[in-house]
Amino acid sequence: MSAPAPTAAVTSRGRPRKPPPSIGAITALVVFVAVTLWSAIGVEFTLSPLIVNLTRGSDVIEQYLHPNWEILTRPAVREGFLETLYIAILASLVGCLIALVLAMLASKVSAPNTGVYQVMKLILSLVRSLPDVAYGLLFVAFVGSGALPGILALIVFNIGVVAKLTSESIDAVDHGPVEAVEAAGATRFQRGRYAVLPQVAPNYLSYCFYVFELNLRASLVLGFVGAGGIGEVIMLLVSRLEHSSVSAVVIMLFAIVFVLDQASRAVRRRLT
């Protein structure tokens, strides 16, 4: 570090060579391109309907953009909405209660032993791998169509979601209180009740409200397979090609979801 180096004397001596791109990055790129090509070919991807014939289907879309609000006054629609609400309430309640117990078993912190914890984790991930509509189809086959299979399907679905989220909250719980309660000679159940539960209660409650909202939305799809609620009405309207009526009912459903969501936020704020 004596005299300043004149710019002409600059050489690449002592400079590191640029490393080749990492194998991981190349693999990722190749996999990405391959999977995207495979998918694009598989779904016959093309945007030409958008460009070639923009007006195709425009009459249907037109109807969706002009909702037929009168449909909402029909008693069948009102009953459909009420049924959706009932299904969502019962399924969230029962599902969340069962999920709390399973969540305790599915967390390292609160499970009695690793065996139980691992089996529970596996079961929960299997439960979550089926979409709600598959449960709907199964329970409709088991007990016939109507609100009952809807409730049962959503209970299973809710267990999958809430138990998973709650068990993760339990995993992240502060270990201090757990150790303190243990040091005071508490049983396993007492440990769960007094050291773990108070810590996860706010999270657990918000998950319960969250699945309630999911259940209101899910009623749309479940009705398509005969599992009760407003979805049955929507499917009937879809099959009759009454698009503007479908539009009105769907918009109404989202208005209800929105209002209930705001209400549940207010309740949550008071509870926590």
Partner: protein
């Protein structure tokens, strides 16, 4: 002190225990709602016991389909056909995610308050919220099937547009959380806005954004199974047909294919996400766990 007694005589007023009225009211209200709901809903509860007789019967029928030699006709054909539909679901989910990622990436910058001005951020966020509220099945029925016709392409487009809402929101939040320091440093070198986005914001936020894409892919796999019910391609279409025809052996095969493929893809995707976020296979944190958001 020789005794182990730790109690002392009461020395004065002790605080009153706080009122439990609120939790009692909440509990009573919940109970009332449940009773009213059970009473009001026309669920025909008497059918519930049927589950204990019907379910075992049907499940054993499903198992029968599963235990057949999968290399023999017609079982081999059932397995390959079902897998074909499931792969179509995967393709729809992947392509939908790619479309969602492409569309949401620019939007997420416009929805980030540390990048775009307020008068851009607010309407873009509103747009993302509206898309988020629309389920894929509505997008499919109302827009994509009329435009693209029945089939996997309509489902793919519904998944793609449906993904823009959540992806845009999550990505813009990741962008809002970047460290301001490097951005300021680049501003101080005389770099313009686009250059400092490229070199200070994107490098910080991109790993998280890519993890969100993968996360959305996992959600889209489940969503694509639903879309088949309305004729938008994928495993859902065959599922409802099989249930209508009550072909229990093939239903069993279909469910197993869905479960196995979904679990495997979830595991791979979660491992990749962990690698992206932590740069190694270190497990931890919310981002590394499976998808739960369905809407």
């Amino acid at each position: 002190m020789t005794t182990t007694q730790t109690r002392s005589a009461p020395t004065g007023a002790r605080p009153k225990p706080p009122s439990k009225a609120r939790s009692t009211v909440a509990l009573l209200a919940t109970a009332a709602i449940v009773i009213a709901t059970v009473w009001a809903v026309d669920a025909r509860w008497e059918r519930f016991p049927a589950i204990f007789t019907e379910a075992p019967t049907y499940i054993s029928l499903m198992v029968e389909g599963l235990v057949q030699n999968p290399l023999e006709m017609p079982w081999s054909e059932y397995w390959t056909k079902t897998s074909g539909y499931m792969f179509e679901s995967l393709q729809m989910a992947w392509m939908g995610t790619v479309i969602g990622a492409l569309l949401s990436f620019p939007l997420s910058f416009l929805a980030a308050s540390n990048v775009a001005p307020r008068w851009v951020v607010l309407p873009v966020r509103q747009l993302l919220n509206i898309i988020r509220a629309l389920p894929e099945i509505v997008l499919a029925i109302a827009f994509m099937i009329p435009i693209f016709g029945l089939g996997a392409l309509a489902g793919t487009m519904a998944l793609g547009i449906g993904s823009v809402g959540t992806l845009g929101k999550l990505s813009s939040e990741a962008i809002e959380e970047v460290d301001r320091g490097p951005v300021e440093a680049l501003r101080a070198t005389g770099a313009n806005t686009l250059q400092s986005l490229r070199w200070a914001v994107v490098p910080q936020a991109l790993p998280e954004i890519v993890a969100f894409w993968l996360y959305r892919f996992e959600i889209n796999i489940r969503a694509s199974a639903i879309l088949g019910i309305v004729g938008a391609g994928g495993i859902g279409s065959i599922l409802s047909q099989l249930f209508n025809a009550r072909l229990w052996d093939r239903i069993g095969i279909t469910l197993v294919v869905i479960i196995v493929v979904t679990v495997i893809v979830d595991q791979i995707s979660a491992a990749v996400r962990r690698r992206i976020i932590f740069g190694s296979a270190r497990p931890s944190a919310e981002m590394a766990t499976g998808p739960v958001e369905v809407a």
